[in-house]
Symmetry: C2
Subunit: 160 residues, 2 copies
C-alpha cells in the first residue's frame, strides 16, 4: 500500500465507496443522497486543502482530505476527513499517520476533528490510539439510522 | 430597536463594522484583511441560512447569521454568528434571543457555537446567560493579537 497525492483520475474509485458511506448515513454529516458534483467539489479543492489516496497498485483503498479547521487567527489548527473502502478498513491507520505527519510538516500546531460519531467506535478507538482525545461531545447531534440520536465527539491532538 | 430579515441594502452598514471586527482579529476566525466580496458571500446566503439585522430606524446596530451546523444526519443542530457594531454592544442579547427562538421555530433541536474565543469573556458570559454551556475548549486554537494563543470554546444549548 502506498499513500500519494490524489489526482482527478482517482475520483471514480473514490466515489464508489464515498457514495456507499454517504448512503449508509452512519458516520458522516452528509446528505444520504449526496450528489456526485457536490461530493467531488468537497473532495477536490486547491491548497491549502490536501487530498491523498491510499492505493494498492491501481486500486484506491481509501482517501483523506485535510485543511485548516478555521481561517485567519484559527488557521494553525488542521482538520481532516477520512474515507476507507469498507472492504479495506485497515487503511485508516496508515492514512491517519500520514495526515498527522503532513499537517505537522505544514506547520499546523494541532489537529481537530469536529464531528466523530460516538457510535463509530472503531474510528474513535483509532483516533485515540493515534494520540487524539475527546474534548467534548455534542449531545444527540447526529441522527443515526440504526441508533437514533447520538453524540458527536470533538477530538483533538497537539502536533507540537 | 427592531430585528428583521436583512436585505442586500443593509450590507454597506454591516460591512462598516464587520471590517473593523475582522481587522481587530480578537473574536473571529477571519483573515484580518478580509475581502469585502468574501465577507458578503458569507453574510448573504440563501435559505436555510438566515440573516437578520438589528436596526434603530435606518441604522444597522448588529447582525446575525444562522444556519445548520452540519448537513444530513447533523442538520438538526443550528449554529450562528453574531456581529454588533462596537458602539452598540447591548444589541447582542436581543439578537441572541431572536436567533434562538427562530431556530427553535425552524425545528432545530439544539444550537452549537464552534469557536467562541475564550478571552471574549463578554460573549462567553452572554451565551451562558442565554442557556449555553461550554462543552469543551480547543487549546490554543486562536491566535489573538493581544493575548497570544488562547482557547476556542465549543458552546451548546438544547432547544427542546
Amino acid at each position: 500500500m502506498n499513500i500519494r497525492s490524489a489526482t482527478e483520475r482517482d475520483w471514480p474509485q473514490v466515489w464508489e465507496f464515498l457514495r456507499v458511506i454517504a448512503k449508509e448515513g452512519e458516520t458522516y454529516c452528509w446528505d444520504r443522497d449526496l450528489a456526485e458534483e457536490k461530493a467531488y467539489a468537497w473532495w477536490w479543492r486547491p491548497l491549502p486543502v490536501r487530498t491523498v489516496v491510499a492505493v494498492d497498485g491501481d486500486t484506491v483503498l481509501g482517501t483523506a482530505v485535510s485543511y485548516p479547521n478555521q481561517s485567519g487567527p484559527g488557521a494553525h489548527v488542521a482538520s481532516a476527513s477520512f474515507l476507507v473502502d469498507p472492504a479495506f478498513r485497515g487503511v485508516g491507520r496508515a492514512l491517519g499517520n500520514h495526515v498527522v505527519d503532513q499537517a505537522r510538516a505544514d506547520g499546523f500546531r494541532a489537529m481537530q476533528f469536529n464531528a466523530v460519531v460516538e457510535t463509530n467506535t472503531r474510528a474513535v478507538a483509532l483516533w485515540e490510539s493515534l494520540g487524539f482525545r475527546v474534548l467534548g461531545t455534542v449531545p444527540e447531534a447526529f441522527h443515526s439510522p440504526a441508533a437514533g440520536y447520538v453524540g458527536l465527539h470533538i477530538m483533538y491532538r497537539s502536533l507540537l
